[in-house]
Amino acid sequence: MFERFTRSAEDVVKGALDHADRAGSRRVESAHLLRALLDGEGSRGAFVLVALGVPERRASLERALDLSRRRAGLSGADSRALAELGIDVEAVVSRVEDVHGEGALADRPRPRSLFGPRRPFGKEAKDVLTRSLRIVTARGERRIGDEHLLLALTTHPGAVAEALADHGVTHASVERILYGEGEDRGQAKAG
């Protein structure tokens, strides 16, 4: 799959590793892929993000990712589902943080040997990479660019897609920027 990555997609993967390193995370998560995408300049992915007004709201988007990280990676929808069971996630987080310090429930590195392997990709992040390949294949394109990684991030249900959607970045809005009219209307016209 990696041999089909464009330079911009490679930069996102490398950037995600750096973000995971800096955050001291055990694995590379889809949130790290998104943070790396936000760092992009001059790529197709960066173009989409600018068109959707994301750079101006970057701080807010990063706050949403931070909040989810503090809540064990749970999305707002996850928290609401737990509230249905009478579990107040924010209360759990703040009690644990009172005793064990801020960010106690965030992903932490597992003690490892100094010469251990470089941190692996988490299940979700791997899934994003696989989805990007599928998107490209379905469109009959050959190379995977960072814009396809962004598209894949919007399709994986969870905290990252939710944070993106809250900032106007959905599968539909990204497709509209990238491919114009959007799949639905295109199909309607064709039919």
Partner: protein
């Protein structure tokens, strides 16, 4: 009318998606909680055996998951 709305809402509560999502979210929360508590116990000098006994799992299981290489 109100009754019908209540019924509709309660039917909504039975939406398996909400219940399943809650289970998945709980599992995720549980994993992080376990990591926090194991780390805390180790910092306080607990043995793997003692931690495993409290968690109701084998010493090997807890060591494999959290132990240093």
């Amino acid at each position: 009318m109100t009754e019908a709305t209540d019924l509709a809402e309660r039917a909504g509560d039975r939406d398996p998606r909400i219940g399943l999502r809650a289970v998945a979210a709980l599992r995720r929360l549980l994993e992080q909680l376990e990591a926090v508590q194991v780390r805390s116990a180790r910092n306080q000098g607990w043995s793997w055996q003692e931690i495993a006994a409290e968690l109701g799992v084998s010493r090997q299981a807890v060591h494999k998951k959290y132990g240093r290489q």
